[in-house]
Amino acid sequence: MVLIRVFEEEVERQYKRARIGGYCHLASGQEGATVGAVDPMERDDLLFSSYRTHGLALAKGVDPDAVMGELFGREGGSAHGRGGSMHLLDVPHGFLGGWGIVTGQLPLATGAALALTYRGKRAAVMCELGDAATNMGAWHESLNLAGIWDLPVVFLIFNNRYGMGTTVEKASAEPELYKRASAFKMHGERVDGQDVEAVLEASDRLLTRARNERKPAVLEVITYRYRGHSVADAGTAYRTQEEVEEWRKRDPILIYRRRLMDERGVEESQLRAIEARVEQRVEQSVIAAEASPEPPVDTLARHLYGDPNSAKQFSQMGPGSPFGERELVLGGLGR
């Protein structure tokens, strides 16, 4: 949690210094939901997320250097600088991406779960989405498919009360989102996202159930984002400063920190030590990102196609092609 918090604070600083560009969605306030949901995941379990993806990637074990590198647009980034903040990915760690179209990741997660069953693997898929994403048709189709095909997937709703500036009550005819699982005879439940251990317990239970019984489920986590929808949004037009302050009092890190000290006899100094290490780690990720090379311009067409025959397939497309395309792309496919 602390790593994510500190990491995103650094991201915001770097964004202001224009070392990071494009859309950038921070999640400070949602660390309890993030860590609680992802911690029980096993290495073979697969995680899909929306565009608000930094924390989830880090929680799933993606190297902070690869995350910061991607934000800096460097070859060392998890997508070699092609994806940016919204499109982190790390297949070896089972992080199947950061996706930018609201609810676009749900059908994909459903298909990944189908692949697990097809291959007879004992693993589960976790698919994060926002509260507002439950109003998209792809939500309905994905849950229905997961239901009729008994797929091992947990649909994880991070209900932070708003889709950009729109409240859940305004956008969803059934604002208790976990209840929407009933349209698919699917289990759904709701948990307090500011209590990391509560989230962890529920996530662990539903993931285990998915792995062992091939049963999909909906887990709604109530949480809050302190910052605006993205760095471009002040986050003040649609909510009061008081509301934000109220939520800060229930900060997931604060709550857990207190619990560790008051109930688990952890010393302040121990926590300080962790925080110090975390800050170091984040600093190091910036250094690593700076050290990583920028993608050379002549690799613009690289990664467009993956089939080894692609260059050959396109080799006769040259004549009459528009200005600049032949060298740029037709040539590039060879590389």
């Binding site: 494009g22 940016g84 930018g100 950009m164 500036g165 729109t166 037009a237 395309e325 740029l328 792309v329």
Partner: protein, 342 residues
């Protein structure tokens, strides 16, 4: 006194493209009770790109209807309301998101009147910005308005100036058929003069010669037309070339007459497009020119567009992918036989 004051009132106002769109919406909301706006975050949030700022406050939640994230649902609802005679103006936050509503636009809005033998119409407007250039990456930087220009039953306009953004949007709102109004993220900042006349509309289906020239014709739409004008000036300064610029403004209908007239004069043509060239807008332009101006052309028609890749994130990669002034310049010189053809 007031009379002289009136005569002294300026004929135009300088404003941004964004403000021109907003003004058109405001004027049409005032003019016609049947006009209402629908879209995500167009109310309290004032629009993801602030186009609708102030309208929710002034016209309220019925005339400026905030929607959940359900493009297929609310675009379809707009079509249904239009069938009932209302004039919904639906905002899609960016063109990229219209793909989830594609069936409602192509299989419904565009088909309704014809499929039912003219017994019902669909006076719907969908307005949405296209374009890239701000590191928004693959899923948020597209310009595939050609999909809709390919679809009979649709009308598609893509203004590049504040005056046209204002006049064409008003024409679209008053039109009895479904019109897609393509705005552009880069164009929102463009400033220009807009006539002070709430009754002025810009006719759909008319291209504009935005710069007179004799040596080559640059054909473009949306923000590419703004770039083309800049490049035309550079061509003059650096090479003494007089380029004519045709701003298409409308993609369906397409004003081939104005394009052809220009090329009959210049004998050379370059099509510029913010989107991908292959199977793109410029393909249609080029194929019509070669037929209409077969004996007039001194050189093959050239096309320059977005590199044929999804938009990459890294700044310098994105810069290499988009249609910048240098690329247009180089392409123009190659058409003029003044530079290498790449």
């Amino acid at each position: 006194m007031s009379a002289t004051a009136a005569t002294r009132a300026p004929a135009t106002t300088t404003m941004t493209y964004r403000e021109a769109v907003r003004l058109a919406l405001r004027e049409e909301l005032v003019r016609d009770e049947d006009v209402f706006l629908m879209g995500e975050e167009i109310g309290v949030f004032e629009g993801s790109y602030k186009v609708t700022a102030g309208l929710y406050r002034d016209f309220g939640p019925v005339r400026v209807r905030e929607t959940p994230i359900s493009e297929e649902g609310f675009v379809g609802a707009g079509i249904g309301a239009a069938m009932m005679g209302l004039r919904p103006v639906v905002e899609i936050m960016t063109l990229n998101f219209i793909l989830v509503a594609m069936d409602q636009v192509v299989n419904h809005a565009a088909k309704i009147r014809y499929m039912f033998g003219g017994e019902v119409g669909c006076p719907l407007v969908i307005r949405t910005p296209n374009g890239g250039g701000s590191q928004l990456t693959a899923q948020h930087s597209q310009s595939f308005e050609v999909f809709f220009a390919h679809t009979p039953g649709m009308k598609v306009v893509a203004p590049s100036t504040p005056a046209d953004a204002h006049g064409l949007l008003k024409a679209a709102i008053r039109d009895d058929d479904p019109v897609l109004v393509v705005e552009n993220l880069q164009s929102y900042k463009v400033r220009g003069e807009v006539p002070n006349d709430p009754e002025r509309v810009v006719e759909i289906g008319r291209a504009a010669v935005t710069r007179e020239g004799s040596d080559i014709t640059l054909v473009a739409h949306s923000f590419a037309a703004t770039r083309a004008l800049r490049v035309a000036e550079r061509l003059k300064q650096d090479h003494g070339v007089n380029a004519e610029v045709v701003d298409l403004r409308s993609l369906r209908p397409l004003d081939t007459e104005t394009i052809a007239k220009s090329i009959q004069k210049t004998n050379r043509a370059l099509c510029v497009d913010e989107g991908w060239s292959t199977y793109g807008v410029s393909a249609e332009i080029a194929s019509r020119i070669q037929k209409a101006c077969f004996d007039d052309l001194d050189a093959p028609i050239e096309r320059v567009g977005l590199a044929e890749v999804p938009m990459p994130y890294a700044k310098q990669l994105e810069r290499a992918a988009i249609v910048n002034d240098d690329k247009i310049m180089a392409a123009a010189l190659s058409v003029l036989d003044l530079g290498p053809s790449v």
